[in-house]
């Protein structure tokens, strides 16, 4: 399965992927309207230090402990892709307890959110498309 990969040697820590993620998942077509004056809550997050930066989002694990720990069946995996049915999620935080990468977090509306590789947004992952240094790529490995 194609996944999003980050090369930390190239990541500038510019946070554009976070903005593109927030835009892609906003459901709003106008990027300015989607983001202006809003505190973004992206599913991809930059970790940064003085010398290293990298973006982190759901790794779509082969043996997903989040899916196996989910108390409601809201998280599921199909053909490698892990998605969340927010109508079933009660916000119990078990997935936050389980995810080894810290990649599941509460949405602004309550239920959890996670990277679904933009499959619900009708696009290739926007974090990748907008990365100015090609540090994030979407490919099979």
């Amino acid at each position: 399965m194609k996944k999003v990969w980050v090369n930390e040697e190239w990541c500038l820590g510019c946070h554009l992927c976070e903005y593109n993620c927030a835009y892609a998942n906003s459901g709003i077509t106008d990027m300015v309207k989607a983001l202006k004056g809003k505190k973004i809550n992206p599913r991809i997050r930059i970790e940064e230090s003085d010398s290293i930066n990298f973006a982190v989002q759901c790794r779509h694990c082969d043996d997903p402990i989040c899916v196996k720990s989910c108390i409601s069946g809201a998280l599921s995996q199909n053909d490698g892709l892990i998605t969340i049915d927010q109508s079933k999620c009660v916000g119990c935080f078990t997935c936050v307890m389980a995810c080894p990468y810290g990649c599941i977090m509460p949405s602004d509306d309550g239920p959890m959110q996670k990277c679904e590789l933009c499959t619900k947004n009708g696009t290739e992952p926007l974090c990748v498309k907008g990365c100015p240094n090609n540090a994030i790529v979407f490919e099979e490995r």
Partner: protein, 410 residues
């Protein structure tokens, strides 16, 4: 191949999904005394809270049994296993034969002997969907509720009902709340939150000496009047099907990391079993949902002729009250690193060069990174502990780990 599963909750679903990874054809039969489609058992408090409903509580989609070619016998109880004829007797007198059997019978509420309990008209447990429905029908806005037990089940029940009733009092023999997952500081913090936010009254270090109709007299002499009583003192594993045919039971059913019992072709998984806690190196019942799934899944794969071990069980819990969240895992032994303020609390426990366990309250973001260190027994020599103790982050991991997991240079 005939697979039979006694139980229809998390371990059973894990088993079905495990079997189907290996064997897409064999017959699977599920027997359960609960008459419902499989549901997320811990969701019952969220249902009372209005965060979900019966439809959304389904643990797997409506077509789950059909898609996995599973025959269900629901609302009927498996009463006996005959290991000679390899069959299960059901309470309607019918018999189901198996080649491989999973016992995923869970646990039942433990109700200690309490004088005068018979005189109480409205008494409830809080384990099943039916329990939750019964409790919901019995309460209203004028109702005073007494909950015996300040553990995980008791307090999630409290969260579910406190806004629907006049008052909630909680009594526990222990000297603090949630003693199975919190240390003293954590217990005090959460107790104070529940008292201040919701006016819940706790009476600790105390227990009921006698009930007389709607009054409980405690050992201390204190009396509490109530309309509805919830007993959430603890649970007992349902092990009888195995113990009565000579299988090894030590409090819970003893299983290997492949979920095998001591009896041929009989497996067990979930809250009815004993697991080997890798954080303490001790055998104990780890009655948590992820454990049930992982044991069930391993059982299913092995029943179908595959090879799967679940060899790193640790207790781990995520629990919250009114958006105040708690995540804990592992064992609370060794050196501690403590941080926090009046709202947030963190305690990390290190010993033998690994993170043995942790408690985080309030800010629980990315706590799974800590959980992974506990579950994987990651040597702290490979981790920048100074960095990770403040905030869980992958920056603190070895570059080789990041490169493998996140990408790196091709």
């Amino acid at each position: 191949m005939n697979y039979v599963i006694i139980g229809n909750s998390t371990a059973a679903v894990g088993c079905i999904e495990g079997i189907r990874k290996v064997d897409t054809k064999g017959n699977i039969t599920v027997i359960s005394d609960e008459p419902h489609h499989t549901y997320g058992r811990p969701l019952i408090s969220y249902m009372l809270l209005g965060k979900t409903d019966e439809e959304h509580m389904k643990y797997r989609p409506d077509d789950f049994y059909e898609k996995n070619n599973v025959k269900t016998i629901l609302g009927k109880k498996a009463v006996k296993i005959d290991k000679e004829s390899k069959s299960v007797e059901i309470d309607d007198g019918s018999v189901v034969e198996y080649d491989k059997l999973l016992v995923a019978t869970g646990s039942r509420p433990f109700v200690p002997p309490m004088a005068g309990l018979d005189s109480v008209e409205k008494v409830f447990n809080f384990m099943t969907l039916d329990d939750a429905h019964s409790l919901e029908k019995a309460i209203d806005s004028d109702c005073k509720v007494l909950v015996i037990g300040a553990g995980l089940i008791g307090l999630k029940c409290v969260e579910g009902i406190v806004d629907k009733v006049k008052s909630v009092q909680v009594v526990d023999l222990a000297n603090r709340i949630l003693p199975s997952i919190l240390d003293e500081k954590g217990s005090a913090l959460v107790q104070s939150f529940l008292e201040k936010e919701k006016g819940i009254e706790f009476t600790l270090n105390d227990s009921v000496a006698e009930f007389k109709n709607n009054t409980a007299t405690l050992k201390s002499g204190k009396t509490i009047n109530f309309d509805v009583l919830v007993v959430a003192v603890g649970v007992r594993p349902n092990t009888e099907l195995i113990s009565e045919i000579g299988g090894d039971v030590q409090r819970g059913i003893v299983v290997t990391s492949k979920s095998e019992t001591s009896l041929e072709d009989i497996y067990a998984a979930g809250d009815c079993t004993v697991s080997h806690n890798i954080a303490t190196d001790e055998d104990q019942i780890i009655a948590i949902l992820p454990n049930a799934y992982l044991q069930g899944e391993a059982a299913g794969v092995n029943m179908a002729g595959g090879d799967k071990s679940f060899d790193n069980p640790v207790p781990m819990n995520a629990i919250g009250f009114f958006d105040y969240h708690i995540i804990t895992a592992g064992a609370y032994v060794g050196d501690t690193y403590v941080a926090g303020d009046g709202q947030n609390y963190k305690c990390l426990f290190t010993s033998d060069g690994v993170l043995k366990g942790f408690i985080v309250i309030g800010d629980v973001a990315k706590a799974g990174i800590y959980t992974a260190l506990v579950r994987n027994k990651t040597p702290l020599s490979e981790v920048d502990f100074e960095l990770i103790k403040d905030n869980p982050q992958l920056m603190a991991m070895a570059k080789s780990y990041r490169d493998e997991k996140l990408g790196g240079t091709l």
